[in-house]
Amino acid sequence: MNAPLGHISDQTLQRLVPAQPIVRLEKISKVFPGRDGQPVTALGEIDLTVNQGSILGVIGRSGAGKSTLIRLVNGLEKPTTGRVIVDGADISALPGNALRHARRSIGMIFQHFNLLSSRTAAQNVALPLEVAGYDKASIKARVEELLALVGLSDKRNRYPSELSGGQKQRVGIARALATKPKVLLSDEATSALDPETTRSILDLLARINAELGLTILLITHEMAVIRTIAREVAVIEGGRIVEQGDVFEVFTRPQHEVTRSFLADESGRALPPYVASRLRSEATPGSQAVIRIGFRGPHATDPVLARLAREHGIEANILAGSVDEIAGRPWGTLVVGVPVASVQQTVAFLSQLDLDTEVLGHVA
């Protein structure tokens, strides 16, 4: 934020360089044989592109198909129809040996870390390199480099049972990066961690993305994860992508009901109980209309309520509000009450300033 003028951040640079897709899911569907003979469609007609160097988050409830989706990318699942292209190779059509080779350029981390309990941190990180047939000396050097990257050099000889959850996930990340992958798949990697540890793991992932240019595809059920780390988001529900786009756009202007429900618990979204409990859909004489205003455009810092009062003589009653940061950009929300008669005028005034408005209901 305090970068000198004329400095171009990596992220800006990435936006300027034409986006290169590195993962492409083309018309993917996945049907599992059901228990009672009825086939179950886990995914239907999914198209998804992840650009080189980006962080794409896929969010969905459990059972929405996000686990299946991420497993298609490294061929742990085969699509029923459609193609999965990773770094130019059709993962869905590769035979065993070529697929195993391709997987070395796709790292993966897991919710429950999946570390070998019989191996130390260093030995766990070494495993993919042993499997890939590196010699002992280069494995040792690479493992030290990776442990330093994730900040665990001093724990190299510890067994997973002697490490905390966050440390285990760091070992998992080091292991996933061992064979220098181009894409990192994150399968609910922070869901088993407390908020503080989650934050530090996400910071590490963001740093790896920035420093190594590693593309990250992550799935989660937590909006907080998406807005901390992702630049793009896809919302998945019932095996279909219902909404997709820039994280800031989707957060501030959600289009789909599912997206809104994910956002409901986010700060600045939930109404305070004393408003929520009195909210009615129809107006009664003397009631106020409750309007949510989203500040995101160039007018985000304008004294809009003062202007509303001065220019239109409408006095807004502030009910709730917050200012937050989403995908690195500030975003404020304000919930206000205005007299029912002034609703249209208020909304027109605010819309003209390119502010988002939403009439939530009425309170007596």
Partner: protein, 221 residues
């Protein structure tokens, strides 16, 4: 106790250790791959071959349900083929091994199945082949369980070896029956039982200690 008796007990203990040791070794060499295969060849597993898995399962169960003394007699032609004779200590090793293979295979299958499926998924994700998964993930992770299983198998073999006196196999059990029971020498019977108890205790505590040392899943103080 006469020096003659002590000499007999020492010789029989040697025979027992020889029979149990050799049969446990061969049965492990054959039972380990069989157990790994049983644990990984089910539907949708690493070496998926559900039919072969089912047939092997039936064969394993059939062998395990045959009473040992019947097995000893039933496979005499096979024993003669392998050992060149159907009587004596070497001949006794054949039925002991045949009985131990399916037992060990089932114990190893159980230990392998205890390994977290997530580890197989992680190994597949970083490009390990099925054989690499077995050698570098499944067996090392299952090792404490495998050691405990082999300990149990050796203890069972000590028990089985008492029955091979029927084919002149010798050993402690044979000594106990011939001297202790048939010649009414209760002190010989007692000595045999004491030696067997000591052997079982020794095998079990070595196995337990080894398994505990190999198990890194729990913190050691």
């Amino acid at each position: 106790m006469s020096p003659e008796m002590i000499r007999l007990i020492a010789a029989s203990t040697g025979e027992t250790l020889y029979m149990v040791g050799v049969s446990a070794l061969i049965a492990t060499l054959l039972g380990l791959p069989l157990g790994v295969f049983l644990a990984t060849s089910g539907k949708g597993e690493l070496f998926a071959a559900p039919w072969v898995n089912r047939v092997l399962g039936v064969v394993v169960n059939a062998t395990r349900s045959t009473p040992f003394i019947i097995l000893v007699v039933a496979i005499i032609p096979f024993t003669r083929l392998i050992a060149g004779t159907s009587i004596g200590t070497n001949a006794a090793i054949v039925p002991l091994t045949i009985a131990a293979i399916p037992f060990i295979a089932r114990l190893i299958e159980g230990a392998i199945r205890e390994v977290d499926q997530g580890l197989i998924e992680a190994a597949r994700a970083f490009g390990a082949s099925p054989l690499q998964i077995v050698l570098k993930v499944l067996i090392p992770e299952a090792l404490p369980g495998i050691v405990l299983g082999l300990t149990l198998a050796i203890v069972s073999l000590l028990g089985f070896s008492a029955m091979v006196g029927a084919v002149g196999g010798g050993g402690l059990g044979d000594l106990g029956i011939r001297y202790g029971y048939q010649r009414f020498m209760p002190e010989m019977m007692l000595a045999v039982v004491v030696v067997l108890i000591v052997l079982v205790q020794a095998v079990q505590s070595i196995g337990d200690r080894l398994a505990r040392r190999l198990n890194k899943r729990v913190r050691h103080a």
